[in-house]
Amino acid sequence: MAKESSFKNMVITLLVITLISSALLGGVYELTKDAIAAVKIRKINNGISNVLPAFDNNPSENVHKKFIDGDTVYVYTATKDEKIVGSAVQTFTNTGYGGKIVMMVGFLTNGEINKIDVISHSETPGLGDKIEPKKTDFNVQFNGKNPKDYKLAIRKEGGDVDAMSGSTVSSKAFCDAVARAYKVFREDIMKDQGKWDDVSGATQQKK
């Protein structure tokens, strides 16, 4: 059956196998590198287009990062015909029932929430996972609201958000993530008032 083992042939065998498999892996890596990178960009752009009106730039290239509360919030700004249509903010919260929730919140130029999408979470199926837009209308209630005069907290705590029954923790966590997104958006993006007012005027005219 198998060959007798001597020091020389053991070392040679392992060396040859390692070399061949490294070469194979290197080759496959080169082959799939571009596809994997493209998938990453497509995922981000898809996430952005889920929460913002139509745009024609590549927002994943136009990113603003902010380190806050132990993790990073990403702001992608989308434009159409050189005009800003809004920003998609990838935000997070650590206070979900099952830990971290990552979401994408789309803000229009005047600070109004356009749409919200949930990227990843580990909330309890059937209860907390109702934060997903395809499951219930919970997160639809945020659409069209402007956090300037819409308090991002559940009603029990004096806010304006209707909590999901049986999932107070997840509802609160959701509000926390949206509030974090708004904070970064307001402080880092909207402060550039001149630019934003200009553009928001343009969008309002369209309406």
């Binding site: 892996l25 890596y29 650590n94 206070t95 979900g96 029932y97 099952g98 830990g99 309890t124 923790v169």
Partner: protein, 193 residues
């Protein structure tokens, strides 16, 4: 405080065995007796912690600088296999009593997916070295805890004669594991990371 939360979350809330399903093979295989399960549990805590630290160092000081992160799986499994061998040899020399207790379980650990799984998860969750250490130690403890509890239940099960014939052996053990997993679900929401 953060570390204590991480510790509790990894032991109870996200128990490796009962909620992440890592290391099920030894869970079903070496859980007939409480004493052997303790040996296995101890060996896993030990190997899991040192191999997570080793793979952390390799990831950030070798793979990332050389841009060969795609070699992760193959390098990690080799490191774990080598490490287990070394631990076995060192233990034999340094502490024969400990070797007697853990020795026969060490070779089995190489194919315990909890070890590779936790190493990969620590990297995926972007933990730093301190967090990796706490996380892997806690996961090991969680593994040992679930294993010993399960072994205790199975010992009782052996004595019972009411189990239907076609349920005997693995099926009833799986049901017990399911009930244990339900009990551990009660911990979820206790700690938030």
């Amino acid at each position: 405080m953060e570390y204590i939360l991480l510790l509790i979350a990894a032991i109870f809330v996200n128990n490796v065995l009962l909620s992440q399903f890592l290391g099920i093979c030894p869970f079903l295989g070496v859980s007939n007796k409480v004493t052997t399960s303790m040996g296995m549990g101890g060996a896993v805590v030990f190997v899991l912690t040192i191999s997570s630290i080793a793979t952390y160092l390799i990831q950030y000081f070798i793979l990332v600088p050389l841009k060969i992160e795609y070699m992760q799986t193959i390098i990690f499994i080799l490191v774990i296999a080598t490490l287990v061998q070394m631990v076995e040899i060192i233990l034999k020399k340094v502490s024969p009593t400990l070797y007697q207790a853990l020795g026969i379980f060490l070779p089995l650990i190489v194919t315990n997916c909890a070890v590779l799984g936790i190493a990969l998860l620590s990297i995926q969750n972007k933990y730093d070295l301190a967090k990796t250490t706490v996380f892997s130690l806690a996961s090991g403890i969680g593994f040992a805890l679930a294993l010993v509890l399960f072994a205790g239940l199975r010992e009782q099960l052996e004595l019972s004669s009411n189990v239907p014939k076609s349920m005997k052996g693995t099926p009833i053990a799986l049901i017990v594991a399911g009930l244990l997993a339900m009990a551990f679900m009660g911990f979820s929401g206790v700690v938030k990371l």
